[in-house]
């Protein structure tokens, strides 16, 4: 019943034996132990499970693992290049106070990274639309919008936009704070 598939996740190749009905979300979380990708509903309604598939955002709870074969998956674990080199979206989520319980955060960040990769200078309205598939129950979204605006500024300022587009993992450095963004006083 199980079939062995090869998945490319965050630049690494994994071989896993999965039943055909197993979702990408389950395989990421349970087989690969990449638990940064969350499950908020399992129905495609909340966006907490968002990952990038060849750079485009998808809800991993609605996608079968076998469908991801041959594609490049990016999860929140693949956004930062090092402990102190966060993706600008991550750094700004921390700095702007866009994180409370944090359960929506990985999905929000990936949706935001996708948005900025397609549209480096989104208007407020475009930011809202870009995040409309991701629910948050804590923040009232205001600081998330702000974080995306700031990340957009930083991406434009830090690197030639092309370098940061396409591959979110190649985003600019997250500023000079060695504690990993979000300077502590």
């Amino acid at each position: 019943m199980k079939q062995t598939i090869r998945l490319r996740v965050n630049g690494d190749t994994y071989e896993v034996a999965v039943p055909p009905w197993r979702t990408l979300n389950e395989v990421l979380r349970e087989d690969l132990r990449l638990t940064g990708t969350k499950r908020g509903c399992g129905d495609g309604d909340c966006g907490a499970c968002t990952v990038l598939l060849d750079g485009r955002s998808v809800t991993s709870c609605l996608m079968l693992a076998v469908e991801a074969v041959g594609h490049e998956v990016t999860t929140v674990e693949g956004l930062a290049t090092a402990r102190d080199a966060l993706h600008p979206v991550q750094a700004e989520f921390i700095a702007a106070g866009a994180i409370q319980c944090g359960y929506c955060t990985p999905g929000m960040e990936l949706s935001a990274a996708y948005l900025l990769s397609r549209n480096p200078s989104p208007t407020d309205d475009e930011i809202r639309r870009g995040l409309s598939g991701n629910l948050c129950r804590c923040t009232g979204y205001q600081k998330i919008f702000e974080a995306v605006r700031r990340a957009s500024d930083r991406l434009k300022g830090a690197a030639p936009p092309d370098a940061a587009a396409g591959d979110p993992a190649a985003g600019g450095p997250a500023g000079g704070d060695p504690s990993g963004g979000g300077a502590r006083p």
Binding site: G40, D43, A95, C101, G102, R128, R137, T139, P185
Partner: protein
Amino acid sequence: MTSRPIGKDVPRVDGWAKATGAALYTDDLSLPGMLHGALLRSPVPHARIAHLDTRRAAALPGVKAVVVGSDLPAVKYGNWRLVPTTQDELALARGRVRFVGDEVAAVAAVDRDTAEEALALIRVEYEPLPAVFDLDAAMAAGAPVLHEATPDNVSVTRKIAFGDLEAGFGASDYVREDTFTVQAVSHAYLEPCATLAQADDLGRITLWTSTQTPYIVQCLLASTLGLRENEVRVVKPAVGGGFGGKMELRPWDVCAAFIARRTGKPVKFALSREEELATGRRRHPMRLRSRVGFKRDGTLMAKDLQVLLEGGAYNSMGPTATFLVGNFGAMLYRYPAYRYAGAHVYTNHAPAGAMRGFGAPQALFATETQMNMAAEALGIDPIELRLKNAMRPGDEIPDVATVGTCGFAECLERVAEMSGWREKRRRGPGTGGGKGLGIGCYSFITGGVFNWFNTPYPFSAAEVRAYADGTVHLLTMASDIGQGSDTVLQQILAEELGIRMQDVQMTAGDTAMTPKGDLGTWGSRVTLMAGNAVLEAARQVKEELARMVSLRFDLNVVQEVELKDGMVRSKFRPDRGIPFAEAVAMAQKANRGKPVVGRGTYTPRDMGLVTPTFSFGAQVAEVDVDRETGVTRVTKVYTAHDCGTVLNPMAVDGQVHGCIQMGMGYALSEELVMRDGKTVNASFLDYKMPGALDMPECEAVCVETHDPRGPFGAKETGEGPISATAPAIADAVWHASGYRATGLPITAEKLLAALDGDDSIAGERRAEASCAIPDPRPRG
């Protein structure tokens, strides 16, 4: 680098872990050999279990345990340990189910698919019993009884009364009486509940669970398993929101622990979103009847409030709600006479529990809407009417509470200015081309002084360990569930010890490792209560280090020693001092190596029946009502609030914004729709909470007060503002359209029907509906 983090936009200490996906929530944890659990729930609202056969499920390969009610000790539990008769829940039903979703059996298997397959093999024969789904049916003579000990289905009643009501109404020039109805809504925290239990050789349990209240779970779990309290260790991992919905022992905790003890294997349960929405705790639906009297000039004279709370099948936190709604009904304004009677009624619905604002969103929707209606009738501007009656510092609710600091009047002035109220509100209702603005206000508790859990420990406690390398370790059971209390508590500690945030490490929310006790995260209590415990612990450390520096520099006894910028030094002669680390080393050496440790506790005493101190605020909402579609868009929300001294402005803003999101859902779109006892909209597709496209622009200012009871003067901000939003939006809808809602949510369908003059669909004119509480029937 500054060592004064208080009052600054300090980013969250758990920000990096959450931004990178490294933060571990309960369902992210996994142990070798772990079993996966699943729960069988009742598909019927009320029935006797005639027959229960688990043999086929137990025989399925991979199934390691099947548990039913009769396997578990028959120990009922509930948070109101102080009054054991209110403890009415069992983890798994014994012979009887009382709502759709009531847990009947639990299965644990090698994987989730097998566990779910096993559930399908359990045979249950239900003998249906008559069920009750609303207040009137539940309270009717001869109504089906849910719990034999409560023959009238009224499980709790509460009263508050002060002043001469008769005289107050007698002297009133204008009296009005209105009935308000509010619906059930879901916490809808993004992380569904999950729990993971592990047993040791003696059957002692470690439980990682998504909870706001590790100590409560520890005690109640121990009692249901027949263990001593400290044979259960509860650890709170990262929690994906709670909002009051995760503050009780829940059946999956009991089942996981029970099965772990039986099998010797770790067991995890993780709920689905459907289970959460269809069977989870919810905000109490209520019917509130309020009679209020005014002088012609707007002076409030008397208020008589009767409230029926629909509690669902079990008490949960209902007893607290029944008191609090009456308390909040007496807040905000000076009522010379006030009477409240509330009753908590059982029905065959999923139980209601605590939810953000607890009792206040309902009470204040009624209060504030009625104020707006009265203002209209009296021809007085709603803000002027409020200013005339606003509570001031030192006001009292006799025998219940005293108002300490209170910036309410200033909040009203500020929100009027910010929103351009006096200009924009001049035009009459329905004359603004669909635009309108409205007002709502709030007050909330900063922690509860009530001890319904009957804890013999302090309400909060903290231990501070100072080390000779300049770092300190803070240990507290206080539970950050996303609101940011870990950050604020570390700010408080760093500020008091004059060190930097990165000098502080923390262990929290672990009943075995952190000092007892802590009642958890609810009632906006953590900053004040745990904060004061941290302060006390820090001051002990400070005192010890100050002694060292006084000795070392032979300081005059009148000289103050300050801890600042990483130094311990004379305030008068800053050159006389040594680094914090050195002072700790000195203190240790002077005490034969004994570690430098401070231990603080906080327990409120002699602070009335409610809280150490109240927050206040006023909010104005602007809306755009589309008369064609009936859709209301909230375009801007202005908030002026008194949360004492602001410890972290960014965190405070975040709480206000979150409250607005939830309050707006309550006002316009959120409702758990029930049909024949079933929740019909149990998905995020059908349960409509505001998303990124719906949120208005939010502008907030803090009217700072300095509360002597709060750490550095702070009061609450995490719950209060939610109560202002729904009445403000409802008032704005009136101003925009002429439709005055006395029920929530204000859906497009209701609004259109009301604008067409069809009250039956609008369903809000319930002048006849009674809120009277019947005389109690004899109890069994």
